[in-house]
């Protein structure tokens, strides 16, 4: 078997608070193939956000290694780290757009950080806004946009430096079901067009079912199960997955495309 694109090996993350030590992630190993859409699901507090933040090193792991391509990210210096981060896009639940900048300015931000020339920035931004379908809004400020449009700007901003990986931190959790679907469609679309590897964390199995090929279930900082989405849905073994899938039967009605609600 070929070496996987992203290899997370035995990582754990400990966190000290009020003289007590918490282990948020315990001995986690994952392999993610290039071009995959990989979903990580779990209840609140399971450690999903921490795990995704370890990948772009917003959090540093206490032990274990994360390798992406040929790079072992915990060995990077601060400067190398900043260069490396330009190649990993991330989108957030609350978008985190800059209110001081227009849509154009927001998407231009990562390019300015990467010290690109003005001409190149203009070209790239226009191109990406076209791709995510908000080219007509480029002079708007974030506050003038709807949630779905804001997330599209978020995605455009994350894609500006043509990253290899896109991390999605509950990107559709603050959106209504219809908008969620359109954003997920966009993610699937760019996954195909740009051959982008997407890691998506969510507390909604519907999102995983709709978008991902492979998944992992996170339970109290441990991987309870991992594998193909289809296999886990047909035969869940972990309690989290069982609870999720059981409740999912009632919820999935809203997600049936065509006859929404």
């Amino acid at each position: 078997m070929a070496v996987p694109f992203i290899e997370i090996k035995n990582i754990s993350k400990k966190y000290k608070s009020h003289k007590q030590e918490f282990e948020i992630l315990k001995n986690i190993s994952l392999e993610i193939e290039k071009g995959d859409i990989f979903g990580i699901v779990g209840f609140s507090g399971a450690g999903k956000s921490t795990l995704i933040r370890c990948i772009n090193r917003l959090e540093t792991v206490t032990s274990g290694t994360i390798r992406i391509g040929k790079v072992e990210i915990n060995k990077l210096s601060k400067k190398e780290m900043n260069l490396y981060r330009q190649k990993i896009g991330i989108i957030f639940q609350h978008f985190n757009l800059f209110d001081s900048r227009t849509v154009f300015g927001n998407v231009a931000f990562p390019l300015e950080v990467a010290k690109k020339k003005k001409k190149e920035i203009n070209k790239k931004v226009t191109e990406i806004l076209e791709l995510v379908g908000i080219a007509n809004k480029q002079n708007f400020y974030p506050e003038q946009l709807s949630g779905g449009q804001k997330q599209r700007v978020g995605i455009a901003r994350a894609l500006a430096n043509t990253p290899d990986i896109l991390l999605s931190d509950e990107a559709t959790s603050a959106l209504d079901p219809v908008t969620s679907l359109s954003v997920l469609d966009l993610l699937k679309d760019i996954n195909k067009k740009l051959k982008l590897t997407i890691i998506l964390i969510t507390h909604s199995l519907d999102v995983i079912k709709y978008t991902c090929n492979n998944m992992a279930v996170l339970e109290n900082g441990v991987i309870a199960e991992k594998g193909k989405v289809k296999d886990i849905f047909e035969n869940p073994t972990s309690t989290t997955a069982k609870v999720f899938i059981k409740n999912n039967a009632n919820l999935s009605v809203t997600y049936n495309r065509g006859n929404v609600i």
């Binding site: 917003l58 780290m81 990993i88 991330i90 985190n96 209110d99 931000f109």
Partner: protein
């Protein structure tokens, strides 16, 4: 009352008031510029060296914070009395407008540092995290995220700074620095010239009110442009 009014708008009164006003404006403007840059640098330094800041340095943060608190806790009059003699080493004189500017900067820099710090604390952590995740360096984050995002608050606080400086200039003036404060004490208090005292108050009120209106106007315009109000 009418008599007082005619006295206030007498030419002789304004022959005293106008030069004093110009002196006050000179002192305020110069010290505002100095305080602005120093306070901005110190405020940002306080913010980023915080425990969860961009460049944590707790020891620096504690010591610096304590120094700021120390100056803040003293009445400005006492600081001015302490600093005026020290001014001699810095600008060569221990009296007059120049010495006063040094004292004003010492009094107001800690205040503005805190105001700057409080303005940029309001920038949401998520935005800073997003910038970090895009590979932005700390300098980038300060110049492209923290300052632009907090600009409306910074402008409002800048107005607070200038107004504080005008009133502190008046205090320093009464201690021999010149300007409106000196006129108020020398004529209004020592020689019982109520007309001059009232004229000084009028000028100060107009100065402060104009500044406040201008600051609010600019700040609101930026917020409107960003569709935040």
């Amino acid at each position: 009352m009418i008599e007082l009014c005619t006295q206030i708008f007498n030419k002789n009164v304004w022959n005293i008031i106008i030069p004093a006003t110009l002196q006050t404006i000179y002192m305020t403007v110069t010290s505002t510029i100095l305080t602005f840059f120093l306070g901005l640098i110190f405020g940002i330094a306080m913010f980023i060296t915080n425990k969860d800041g961009l460049h944590p340095c707790v020891i620096f943060n504690r010591i610096f914070g304590a120094a700021i608190n120390a100056i803040l806790s003293l009445p400005s009059m006492i600081i001015i009395i302490l600093v005026l003699p020290i001014s001699k080493f810095i600008v060569g004189v221990s009296y007059g407008p120049k010495a006063c500017i040094v004292a004003l900067v010492v009094v107001c820099t800690p205040i503005f540092s805190r105001l700057v710090e409080n303005s940029i604390v309001e920038v949401s952590k998520g935005k800073i995290e997003a910038a970090k995740a895009m590979g932005a360096s700390n300098i980038n984050i300060i110049l492209k995220v923290l300052l632009p995002e907090s600009l409306p608050a910074l402008i409002r606080n800048f107005v607070v700074l200038t107004i504080t400086l005008i009133s502190t200039t008046a205090i320093a003036g009464s201690l021999g620095a010149g300007g409106l404060g000196e006129v108020a004490v020398r004529f209004g208090y020592n020689r019982f010239r109520t007309d001059i005292l009232i004229s000084v108050i009028l000028v100060l009120l107009v100065l402060v009110e104009c500044l406040q209106l201008l600051g609010t106007f600019i700040s609101k315009r930026i917020l409107k442009k960003r569709h935040l109000i």
